[in-house]
Symmetry: C2
Subunit: 486 residues, 2 copies
């Protein structure tokens, strides 16, 4: 196994990353886009090699890993386009106005600039899309930051090799040394969060680990933002009407979503609320669904231990029954538990216990209006899902649900999270540490920027994004109106 | 003196504010704008009464208070217009796309929504613009939040009366009870930061007080964002050439900016870096400047004590000399100190000591390139200012300065902070606790919002901001392009 990175090495890498940031902060979006596209190309050229490494370390199947690689490459390319369109700059120009309502206004122009050196912690469950050069690293680089990535122990060999490929691609594209580098080991991780030149952290992982690092980042002499995605239970609410119309479809979709990637998704539906059911009818449907699926070992021994412990804890709660029991072999099969809204109201802890793996709970309700009480008890979630019919009046219900999460789905399943302009992968605490921000989609870039305003500057001394003739041809807000470049 | 608000009362007010938030979260921007305009109108109707109360409690002169009232009214009206244009929603629509680069994309639509109940702490130095219904309250209300405002002890009578006027105006405009209320006292302040339903804090005040509340907000079981503006030294850098060309104008502008509002501005220039000078030439210019100005007691006895202590501490540092000594009477006159870049390099602490009141330091440098070393030693600032000539090449210098602050001024003075679209009143820690955000200008609204995405929703069940026919006529991003309503 590769040696861990020492604090001393982390310090040296951060100093190099700071120099690289300073050397590159003035480059055009077009040039930065070339870097992102060069990384995408490098990944494409080494895709087979990386997928094979990932398969060995994560037990995820090749088709899934190929899809994830495609997503990771696409994400870099989309961000490359996005920064040339330029909304992340939020470039805003207020020309001098002697008649401004509160008194004469000077010429003032604002834009977002990169924060500097950023630390990124990779997740174990998406070895490409949320790891070394996944969403956090890609958005930090797109913002103009330089990145130290802390490799997840569960795919260290893959992480190191991915890091080499990214560094090589950046070098060939002419980027200064230090724009991107990897570290590994716990001591290195802490040194990264503590370093005075580290300006922000992107993190995807567990609530316990994420909260500890959030506290560490917040308690620094100079606190830094910590963008942590810490997981979610992702309740799905099925109305009486929908259950009546398409019960089997719903159970089938649920069984699929709850076990996709062996349930190792932060958007796995962990709770399915349905009208009281006859379990003898449901069990065969679930078993039939599972019989057609291929299972695999969990991502790591550590994760397996955590899954077993969480499953044991939830199973031991009052009024929780096993509907379908998974085996406990090297390759675990799915477990579906069963409880009631009444039991949850008596013991709301069940709403906070994420079982990261192929387990989920079906929750029976007597009356649909009980669901409003459950929603009030919910912690912050990445997603909430409604399975309902279009002619139902659910306005109040949707209103209540939107308070608790960052994404609401209608008659879908929350597991897939597309990378696009409107995507929001975030939510109130504890699903994330920053409910205003997303870690998926083009909106993720803004996390790693801050604003600077320039007052009464000569045009030639302004950054290109704010010069009158708009040399970068980015979208800007001028005297109050957003305008695309001509 | 009015009785302090008890924790019990804070709890009741927050519950009412939560109900008001829930009752009003679906109203249109037009209706919300009417509320803001009603408050503006209420202030206008009671302007003379409020200005007289402010004059008595703050010692600020009437002309200044009239200007501040005008600004405060304008700010509410500008935010009322802004929310109808709608950029704060960041409404983004991605239509379903079977050919999306990473695989078929579902219809997904995102918007920003209000956080809920927000706590605001008023500053003592702007009894209107940064107090009860100043920038933080106005932007939180514009975002759709409901507000509890903690009145600053230094103008309690004014704060209570302003609160009554705001509550009355909202009531007459048809807003539910609890959209806005005031509290006062330290116990109430802590109860506000700790309450589970409080979703964010806006704060303007001291580093010590602000950091303590930031820590409190971050250490909650459910941490909440704390937007604190904690002060700044606001260095001004004068090039050799500018000093040669217009030394007297610069000294005059500096004397004016450093003593405006008795130096009680978070944007007061606390350090003026100039080439070595003959003090016998400067002193008469400064004294002449001060002789034409009217002085007044500081805002409060407490603030005066802090000012004297800070002034004594800075004066006691090695190689700090008094250039112009202020008196120590009830109405203090300005003090201008003098030191050198060399002394600062030996004792950088001077760069961190804000003297909140009519004192500032002139710093002599031998060579212009020494300034780069000083900039590297600077803490985060709200502003940095350059006094320079247009034909000088200062690209690297501007580059270095922009790392340290949120607003850079060219041949101006940082004291005035206009309310506009491009304004940024923020900066790296310790000037604020959130360098990405501003507390002045329309950008301030976004602090009190978070994002929610809706996936594959029937159009009629979407919030109006995201419905296909854009009933609110707001600006939106559609399939990647920002488009104004037709």
């Amino acid at each position: 196994m590769a040696q861990v990175t020492t604090s001393q090495q982390v310090n040296e890498q951060i100093m190099t990353a700071q120099s690289a940031y300073e050397a590159s902060r003035q480059i055009s979006p077009r040039q930065r886009a070339e870097w992102l596209n060069a990384i995408a190309k490098g990944l494409g050229q080494h895709a087979d090699e990386l997928i094979e490494l990932a398969r060995k370390e994560t037990h995820l199947d090749v088709a899934r890993l190929q899809g994830e690689m495609k997503r990771t490459i696409f994400q870099l390319q989309l961000f490359a386009k996005e920064i040339q369109y330029g909304p992340h700059f939020e470039a805003t120009i207020d020309h001098a106005d002697p008649n401004w309502g509160m008194g004469a206004r000077p010429d003032i122009r604002r834009m977002n600039v990169a924060l500097g050196v950023v630390g990124v912690f990779g997740a174990s469950n998406f070895p490409f899309a949320f790891s070394v050069i996944g969403g956090d690293s890609a958005s930090a680089l797109a913002a103009g930051c330089t990145v130290l990535h802390k490799i997840h122990d569960a795919h260290l060999t893959l992480g190191l090799r991915t890091g080499e490929i990214v560094v090589e691609a950046l070098k060939n594209a002419g980027a200064p040394e230090g724009v991107f580098s990897v570290i590994h080991g716990r001591e290195a991780a802490e040194a990264l969060v503590d370093h005075p030149l580290t300006q922000a952290i992107g993190f995807t992982g567990s609530l316990a680990g994420g909260r500890a690092l959030f506290d560490r980042a917040s308690q620094r002499a100079k606190p830094i933002p910590f963008f942590g995605e810490l997981g979610s239970i992702n309740p799905v609410f099925v109305t009486e009407k929908a259950w009546k119309v398409r019960q089997n479809d719903i159970v089938s979709g649920y069984a699929n979503a709850a076990t996709m990637g062996m349930g190792q998704f932060c958007t796995k539906p962990g709770l399915l609320f349905v009208p009281s059911f006859n379990k003898d009818e449901i069990i065969p449907v679930l078993i039939k669904e599972f019989s057609s699926k291929k299972f695999a070992p969990l991502l790591s021994a550590n994760l397996r231990k955590g899954y077993e412990a969480a499953l044991a804890k939830v199973s031991s709660l009052t009024d929780v029954e096993v509907l379908v029991k998974g085996n406990e072999e090297n390759i675990p099969s799915p477990t579906i538990l069963m409880t009631t809204v009444e039991a949850i109201k008596a013991e709301p802890e069940i709403l906070e216990l994420e079982m990261f793996g192929p387990a989920s709970i079906m929750v029976q309700y007597e009356r649909e209006d009980e669901l409003t009480e459950v929603i009030a008890l919910l912690e912050g979630q990445l997603t909430c899902t409604l399975q309902a019919e279009a002619d139902e009046n659910l306005a109040n219900f949707i209103d209540a649900v939107h308070e608790k999460c960052g994404r609401v789905l209608w008659n879908g399943w929350p597991t897939g999270v597309t990378v696009s302009y409107a995507q929001h992968h975030g939510g109130p605490y504890p699903s994330t540490t920053s409910s205003a921000r997303t870690s998926v989609g083009t909106g993720a870039i803004g996390r790693f920027m801050r604003a600077v305003a320039y007052q009464t500057f000569p045009d030639a001394m302004l950054p290109p994004a704010l010069q009158e003739n708009n040399p970068w041809k980015i979208i800007r807000r001028i005297d109050g109106r957003w305008l695309e470049a001509e």
